[in-house]
């Protein structure tokens, strides 16, 4: 028996794939051959090294996945039901330019009349930052809750978009502690009532997301039916 063949058997034996009738031959060879014994030890050590050096995913993975998933669902919905194409005429361009000019003027006037933005933001008060930038998480306006909550204690440039809990193991606590790491001073300032309210809102979000998902599936199903019906219609003609 050649050492080359024996090494194939060693690999199979490691995976429990070696035929039982060959196990005895393998062991006999290993008793006599120091090189093959060393080969087997090295392979086992290699397995231990791979197992011990398991790479760790970054903390932000779950949140990025949620964003990626939302984007993919939006794109799928857009592909299934595209918006009607509108060609911008001279009137559209004119009105866009007007709106842009009005916005710019309003911004300039606001700063001129009310002073710099910092003076509008009392420091050291207000809730910790929880900013929702995911359309699937936005609450209906009728609930009276803002879709975006901003940490008023920070200067504009210090604000960060932070994940809100729910899904893929994210948690409210993590969002808060992240925000406290970013802030200059201080621990989060959420009181119990606010935490309870946020948890309620999270449950609402989850319920809405489920409904949205179910509706999305229904739309896909109906679209598929519609496609099959129209294809059959074309075939008949």
């Amino acid at each position: 028996m050649t050492c080359s063949r024996i090494r194939e058997w060693i690999s199979l034996e490691m995976d429990g794939q070696l035929e039982p009738r060959r196990v005895a031959s393998l062991e006999r060879h290993l008793e006599d051959c120091a090189e093959c014994r060393s080969y087997r030890e090295d392979l086992h050590l290699g397995q231990r090294l791979i197992a011990a050096t398991e790479p760790q995913l970054p903390e932000s993975f779950d949140w990025n996945l949620r964003l990626g998933l939302s984007r993919a669902m939006r794109e799928a919905a857009q592909a299934a039901h595209p918006w009607p194409e509108r060609r911008p005429g001279w009137q559209t361009w004119f009105s866009r330019a007007g709106v842009a000019a009005a916005c710019g003027l309003a911004a300039v006037l606001t700063v001129a009349v009310l002073g710099p933005m910092d003076s509008l933001l009392p420091r050291g008060s207000g809730p910790a930052a929880v900013v929702i930038d995911d359309p699937t998480l936005r609450l209906p306006r009728s609930t009276g809750e803002p879709a975006v909550a901003v940490d008023a204690s920070r200067r504009p440039l210090e604000r960060r978009f932070l994940p809100v809990s729910g899904g893929f193991g994210g948690s409210l606590q993590r969002g808060v502690s992240n925000s406290s790491l970013l802030s200059e001073s201080s621990t989060p300032r959420l009181d119990d009532a606010q935490v309870v309210r946020i948890r309620q809102l999270e449950q609402d979000v989850e319920t809405l997301r489920r409904r949205l998902f179910a509706k999305d599936r229904q739309i896909q199903f109906l679209q598929a039916r519609l496609d099959s019906v129209s294809t059959r219609g074309v075939d008949r003609h």
Partner: protein, 229 residues
């Protein structure tokens, strides 16, 4: 049939059950019926294994993260297409493997700089070419064990590396690897064997380094104590 969270097909798993107690194949049925929490559990079970596989294939942590994300997004978006004729893990790793292969293909098609001393093809390279001036212990010193192993893995040719990682990292059986890769069973066996041989040659200098072996034992002891907790 209209699928929605209110209308589960007969024989479907109970959505009220703790997702951790369900099989992968039950979880995907729940996902097919709109239960997002079931998908969270799938993500928790697979993200580490997928990242480990893709990182060892592409070597770039950002790209590996992106590809892990893309695999899981595809699982979710195409959940309807899964049928329980194959194991769920096989389906997931088929998606990941195809993504990795496409990426490798794109990379190999990218224009290269012409060299007067062309590098031999991956398979033509001599195995562990001996360098008389090199002192392996110097290269090892100061390097992280994880980086050294990643480097040793990356030197295995791609066609051997895929089955090797599916076996060693993701613990797929030979039959599952056969399904994922589309190779014959005998080819799977021989490629894993060849990859192990290459890997051994690549890590040979490490095996003589006592500091690294002590590091390995320390990591294993830590992992063991975490498991006990």
């Amino acid at each position: 049939m209209n699928r929605s969270i209110e209308n589960l097909p007969p024989g479907a798993p109970d959505p009220g059950q703790n997702p951790r107690d369900l099989r992968d194949e039950d979880l995907i049925v729940l996902v097919q019926n709109g239960h997002r929490r079931a998908f969270d559990e799938i993500v928790a079970r697979y993200k580490g294994r997928l990242y480990s596989f893709t990182l060892r294939m592409v070597k770039d942590p950002h790209l590996a993260e992106e590809m892990t994300q893309e695999t899981l997004i595809r699982v979710y978006m195409h959940a309807d297409k899964y049928r329980e004729i194959a194991k769920f893990s096989t389906w997931v790793f088929t998606i990941a493997t195809n993504l990795v292969r496409n990426r490798m293909r794109q990379k190999s098609r990218a224009p290269r700089m012409l060299s007067l001393n062309p590098v031999p093809e991956e398979d033509e390279q001599p195995v562990d070419p001996p360098d008389p001036h090199a002192d392996p212990s110097q290269a090892i010193e100061g390097a992280e064990l994880g980086d050294l192993i990643a480097e040793a893995t990356a030197k295995i040719p791609e066609k051997y590396r895929i089955p090797f990682l599916l076996r060693e990292v993701d613990q797929l059986t030979y039959e599952e690897i056969q399904q994922v890769t589309g190779l014959k069973l005998g080819t799977v066996r021989s490629r894993i064997n060849r990859a192990r041989n290459r890997f051994r040659q690549n890590i040979k200098p490490l095996l003589k380094n006592e500091d690294l072996l002590a590091e390995l034992e320390r990591i294993e002891a830590m992992a063991g104590s975490e498991d006990e907790e």
